[in-house]
Amino acid sequence: MDNNEFIEKARKKIKDGLSVDDLIRKLIAFSDSLEKGENTIFEQLNDLYFLYYPEAADKLKERDKFIAALKESCDRKSISEKLAISIESMGFDLNDEDIQLLSLSVNELSNISDLRKVVNDRLNDIIKKKYPNLNAVLGSELSARIIYLAGSSSSLMLMPSSKIQVLGAEKAMFAARKKKATPKYGVIYNHEIMLSVPENLKGKMAKVIAAYTSLAIKTDVLSKEDKSSIIMEKMLKDVEKVKKWNLKG
């Protein structure tokens, strides 16, 4: 007996089972790794630069600032002009070759940073096109992340909103089995509405956002229509309600 028939069937099943969600999952994992690498390289480079010009390195502790300042040239002369600090330094005097190595590394770091932006832009495009309702409720970055955590859009659709509320807080959820309070929110905590909400209402707001996330993904997967304006209108009303609740209490 030949196994070709089985192979054909299995191959077909795999191909049918793949969807744009898999692309989203891979891209977001890629973007996360890029960011991790970016931070590691930045830390090392900043450390290296600290040896050469500690006065400047001290002022460039943020990654994006560091890249922007050092991208063109990183010798003391041009940097001291850029940051308006004294060219006199207590750092070790590196020779030209070392400085060249430094600037090469900064350029590579900048490339990685650009690549991550490209990946994120592509992710945003996919989310906007495929899940307009979810994108309206959560924003593209959070949408991608929540699909990544759920595994796929259809499994996200099947989740109750209480589960969506704590997606990304699995560790705290397991800790709750051993007599600890259950978490109030997972990745939803990073939603922009949550920034403006006082601490004591964040749990309630997370519930509202989770409920509308559930509604939005159901609309996206099942009816495939863009009803984002209606959903957003309703959601903002509920958000206002919760905020007022604080004033009363």
């Binding site: 007996m1 030949d2 196994n3 028939e5 089985f6 192979i7 069937k9 299995a10 191959r11 099943k13 795999i14 089972g17 793949l18």
Partner: protein, 222 residues
């Protein structure tokens, strides 16, 4: 180096330490990075206990099991085909191993393996629903390694449908998947109780330290 037979096509390679090997049925390609030995013109593949629970059981004292050339094997939870490749060695080119795997990314590797090893029949599907498999014959050996809470029920269901009576089923129980809080020995005892009505329990092998919280049950269908 010297070979000591355990069952057909499975040997201990006795050197300074013993190494479990299978006689390769399909040439000298390394499937998952295992070592290849060439002795007297025959090719043997190392069977790594840390990668395969079946191999670990041999290291922990399993000295014979009814699986041999030409057998039909149903393998549930094939993953990327690490253990499957050794089972395919054991049953040889005349045997058939039906390998079921649900996770797509793992199944891709399995399919690629099946293209090289013609006695592997890949099935992408859920072991919980054996009625959905493509039509397969009754098998002489059942191996299951799925880390699911209802793994015992899955085993019983599949054995009912596809295992010939009097034949052997090997069942890798992951106690952590069934109940985290209960003592592992207690969990095994409960599972064995469920299996008693349909199977004779021949051996129970705890495969620590190769895998944590795992046991391999060797069962004979009544």
């Amino acid at each position: 180096m010297e070979l000591k037979r355990i069952i057909d096509r499975v040997y201990w390679l006795l050197d300074r330490r013993r190494t479990l090997v299978t006689l390769s049925a399909y040439g000298g390609d390394s499937v998952y990075g295992e070592k290849i030995f060439n002795l007297d013109g025959k090719i043997y593949r190392e069977w790594v206990p840390y990668r395969s629970k079946f191999a670990a059981a041999f290291y922990k004292g399993l000295n014979g099991v009814d699986i041999k050339d030409g057998y039909k094997v149903l393998y549930l939870g094939a993953s990327s085909g690490t253990t499957v490749s050794h089972v395919s060695d054991i049953i040889g080119v005349n045997g058939q191993v039906y390998a079921v795997e649900i996770a797509e990314e793992m199944a891709v590797n399995l399919i690629l393996l099946a293209e090289r090893r013609k006695n592997i029949f890949p099935i992408v599907g859920d072991a919980r629903k054996p009625e959905n498999y493509p039509s397969i014959p009754k098998c002489d050996f059942l191996y299951q390694d799925v880390a699911q809470r209802d793994q015992t029920d899955i085993f019983i269901k599949n054995a009912d449908l596809f295992l010939k009576s009097g034949k052997i089923g090997a069942f890798a129980v992951k106690t952590r998947s069934i109940n985290v809080s209960l003592d592992p020995r207690e969990v095994i005892r409960n599972e064995v109780k469920k299996l008693r009505s349909k199977f004779d329990v021949i051996r129970e092998i705890n495969i620590y330290p190769y895998q944590k919280d795992h046991s391999l049950l060797i069962l004979r269908k009544k």
